[in-house]
């Protein structure tokens, strides 16, 4: 059973297009995240949702809009794609509580903007 899954695994598109990446977790967690890994392998958090509520938004351009229809899903919609959006996008989930809780990562979606 896949704990955190993402679709698609690869996404190639033209500049200016709008695209979405989907994420689903079957761990029963209440918090989900999106991270971006750039061409230099640097990983940085983009968003965090807790119980469908946006908690963290790390100065991401408003062309990026996360949507959480329920606790098990967090989708990432990107408008007007730019060359610099090319990256690997990772979804993650955790169960929040006292202290800090481990995040479980999906396999990543490699987005290439031409």
């Amino acid at each position: 059973d896949t704990a955190v899954s993402q679709t698609p695994k690869y996404l190639v598109t033209q500049m200016g297009n709008d695209k979405s990446i989907k994420c689903e977790q079957n761990l029963g967690h209440d918090t989900m995240y999106w991270y971006k890994q750039d061409s230099k392998k640097f990983l940085k958090i983009m968003f965090s949702y807790n119980n469908k509520e946006l908690i963290i938004n790390e100065t991401v351009p408003n062309r990026f809009s996360p949507k959480s229809p329920d606790k098990a899903h967090l989708n990432l919609h990107i408008n007007s794609l730019e060359l610099g959006d090319s990256a690997v996008y990772f979804c993650a989930s955790s169960q929040e509580g006292l202290g800090y809780n481990e995040q479980f990562f999906g396999p990543g979606t490699r987005l290439t903007v031409l």
Binding site: L43, N50, F90, F105
Partner: protein, 115 residues
């Protein structure tokens, strides 16, 4: 704000040799520390974590890491490297702000293993 430094961008070791990957962190409170591994074209796999207690933590695949508060370090070690260990390794610090938690990653260390 928290930060993580991995001083070594690229390390090459021979198979069977020992390995140490360095990680230094900056965080005002008790840190939650992690090491992740990313094989080429793959996602992130958790190797080990430190939350509290024993400062020497054991992980999967024969890895261990030692938390040294005085040095703000969390170095990853393995006594004998296998060719399959070639990958990118990321150190991370976890932090919380209210109900939000996030991981702050280092820039990664690429491990190459020669036969």
């Amino acid at each position: 704000a928290q930060s993580v430094t991995q001083p070594d961008i690229h390390i090459t070791v021979s198979e069977g040799a020992s390995l140490e990957l360095r990680c230094n962190y900056s965080y005002g409170a008790t840190p939650y520390l992690f090491w992740y591994v990313q094989s080429p074209g793959q996602g992130l796999q958790l190797l080990l974590k430190y939350f509290s207690g024993d400062t020497l933590v054991q992980g999967i695949k024969g890895f261990e890491a030692e938390f040294k508060r005085s040095q703000s370090s969390f170095n990853l070690r393995k006594p004998s490297v296998h060719w399959s260990d070639a990958a990118e390794y990321f150190c991370a610090v976890g932090s919380r702000t209210g109900t939000a938690s996030k991981l702050t990653f280092g820039t990664g260390t690429r491990l190459q293993v020669t036969l």
